[in-house]
Symmetry: C2
Subunit: 460 residues, 2 copies
């Protein structure tokens, strides 16, 4: 059976049924960000269907979250499995009363894809939570080293932390980059620097932000400029670590800044970050919430860097169908139980689903497929960039699977137009269109996407 | 069929199989807080079974999280439903592409039990996240009122917030109480004041904590003292709101401080908090993460207060099988879309499960059952308190369903002993034993619990 289906656009978008249902929903649930009301029962593979009967080729994938296609049979089978039903019905406090299946669910699922050098896992429920758990691990490690291995907490530390005061509640920072997005909790939001709509009115920690390289495209033409730009940013990172008012315990970075506009940097830049963090004893956290699980053509985005030593922590979510972090340094396990703990410690139902996602990706070799399809898609995008030099600028994502993006004049108008042509596609940053097809996106889906983009750009 | 099963204790606890499996798990997952490895397939109703074949009467319920019994048939049916399978497999970005079922899932589920006066919902994944979303809503409302309705954000606000600086990132506080527990994110942890193990080494916001009434028991004997103590605490709350270095946007309080030691206060105290928060335009957030969903004999713990006007926000999690917050004040909806937003906005699979939990509680009248059974249980506990005046002190939870607790000399030793007698029971605070049976706990389960407590106390 071909995986290609016809797109259908029978109504304006959102259509009358979508609008009516969204209005009903609005009686008790914020509906202001809805695009259309989806009919997931009719959606399949790369295609999403709405309640008006419109069928779209989906290269947005629930904000880069659907890994292996709507109604994927392997995932449906997992959803019907006894272990999953039990995890839903008997939701355990995983730290206190793990199930007899929990070891195998992790071992045969997420652990199979643990990044090289990182063999410990802590399960969570969102990318935001995973990042905050990572920050806390970095901070506890920093203080433990400062205190001295095996040195007990003082009475003063114990008493002062309950009052949110020093020394128990120390000033410790996590460094992040301009235009980064790491979540919306109070800690993760303090490292998010992408848009005011995320941050305005919310108190934040006084943590430093470094500039992220603003590369010029095409990369081949601006080698020297880009190398200088990356050097400048690395120097600023080191300066901030050395001069910030209080210690920097961790640094967090996305392999590709996604929400902030699909900003890339070279492998050398990330190696530079690894060197600086090691030199200054800063925990290096790689936020793979969006880049993880294959879309760059490798399972993890940071595999493209060939680092001399692995990062300390890698966080994941989105396409994993669950969230959490991997870590390798055993010192990142806190010195006492219950320091890194909560009632649920993630959701075993979602971790069972993650196992099925992993199975599907590995057994169908979907990372390599994405690398191959992405290369073909990138070539087509290059053609469009030549044809519309004013409307397709700074094309990026070469050798990064289907993780492709470009800048345009009015990204919101373009993706709106694309919906009327039956392609669900998203934006990021200020004027960027990002492609986030699923890992089951094939060569056969490229023509319709490109023809539609051609049409939309031609009428812009 | 009787809901009473025999407890069996065939091995030491944890037994050899539990220890072996925990050790295996420890290769990649922190196992230091485990009590035993559970066999959820064999667990049923009020009874949990471990891999060594031990069967316990469970009055801890996964840290107060199992609502209606292990392997509850209504929940199993929900777990097998097509809408649940779809929610697992096609995990949507609920803000952008809600499903055609989403309206009905909420309307026929969580909305049926929305606290009086609160008819809006925001779905989340953990109690910690729900509380932080509530804080953010309170803060955005505070700044909106300060800014003036309809007044646009300034360029300075927009630019400064990305730098974590004022005025975009303002100093705004959430007031909480000594000994409270509200979660472990950086914002929620800043309001948690229960134990150093939760907070040490983690930076926190400079937010105020008020004393929570330290009532003397039995309440009847200390009426005057307790009223004076509550008055003192209320005065301190108002003083902190009036004199804190920066504005207090919200106040959060648990109906019964659970993790912090099962600390109660009177309805009059909470009415006092409502009066103070209204007087000073402070958003009142009631954290019902542990008290919600029936265990106090009413659906919501705050229903016991008969407030003159509802709280502004009520958060929930645990027994709901999911998490989120209810709110009534329409101003708590931010002025723009995407301010309160994230990729998933909770988990629809878990919200479908919550619908089944709600159905089960309402159709079986489990709140009233819990009130009735709780009253009988409390009487038996009074008997034990008389028999062991040194070991069962400050008995609390009268007229609060099965939400019963007492102080003892060595709470850890007592619950350990109870496990060897086949009762899974938990502690809180410093020297408190808390009862957290499920809502399916019946009169028939009381004798074994009381006999075991009698035995354990008698041998202490």
């Amino acid at each position: 059976m071909s995986s290609v289906r016809e797109v259908k656009v029978a109504t304006e978008i959102p259509g009358p049924k979508s609008r009516a249902e969204a209005e009903k929903l609005g009686a008790f649930f914020d509906n202001r960000a809805f695009y259309f009301i989806a009919d997931y029962d009719k959606s399949s593979g790369n295609y999403i269907v709405d309640v008006d009967g419109n069928q779209y080729l989906d290269v947005y994938s629930q904000i880069a979250s659907i890994p292996v296609g709507y109604n994927n049979p392997t995932l449906i089978k997992a959803a019907q499995s006894p272990e999953l039903i039990s995890a839903l019905v008997n939701r355990p406090a995983l730290g206190n009363f793990p199930s007899s299946q929990w070891h195998d669910v992790l071992k045969n699922g997420l652990l199979r894809v643990a990044p090289k050098g990182l063999d410990q896992i802590f399960t969570a429920q969102s990318g935001s939570e995973a990042n905050e758990l990572a920050y806390k691990a970095a901070m506890m490690l920093y203080r433990r080293k400062q205190r001295g291995e095996g040195v007990e907490w003082t009475e003063e530390e114990i008493a002062s932390c309950l009052d949110n005061a020093k020394p128990g509640s120390p000033d410790l920072a996590i460094l992040s980059f301009a235009n980064s997005f790491h979540g919306r909790g109070f800690g993760s939001l303090s490292t998010t620097r992408s848009k005011a709509v995320h941050k305005l009115d919310i108190p934040s920690f006084n943590w430093p932000q470094a500039p992220f390289p603003a590369l010029k495209y095409p990369l081949d033409e601006y080698k020297a400029e880009n190398a200088a730009e990356e050097k400048r940013c690395l120097e600023k990172v080191e300066e901030l670590i050395k001069t910030w008012q209080f210690p920097v315990a961790g640094l967090i970075v996305e392999p590709i800044q996604s929400e902030g506009g699909d900003n890339h940097a070279s492998a050398a830049f990330f190696q530079g970050l690894r060197d600086i963090t090691q030199k200054h004893n800063v925990t290096m956290i790689v936020d793979e919430v969006q880049t993880g699980f294959g879309a760059t053509g490798k399972f993890w985005g940071h595999e493209h860097w060939n680092l001399t030593s692995p990062p300390d922590i890698v966080t994941f979510s989105k396409k994993a169908n669950t969230a959490g972090y991997f870590f390798g340094n055993p010192q990142l396990v806190p010195d006492k139980a219950y320091r890194q703990f909560n009632t649920w410690i993630g959701d075993p139902a979602r971790v069972v689903m993650a196992k099925a996602v992993v199975e599907e990706i590995l057994s169908k070799d979907l990372c390599n497929q994405t690398a191959r399809v992405g290369a073909a898609l990138y070539k087509e995008m290059e053609r469009l960039a030549e044809k519309y030099p004013q409307l397709v600028q700074n094309l990026r994502g070469k050798d990064r699977g289907t993780y492709i993006a470009f800048d345009t004049k009015d990204s919101a108008a373009l993706v709106k137009k694309m919906k009327t042509l039956g392609v669900n596609i998203g934006t990021c940053g200020v004027r960027t269109v990002r492609l986030r097809p699923m890992l089951v996106f094939e060569e056969a889906h490229i023509p319709y996407l490109i023809e539609s983009l051609d049409k939309a750009l031609g009428s812009a």
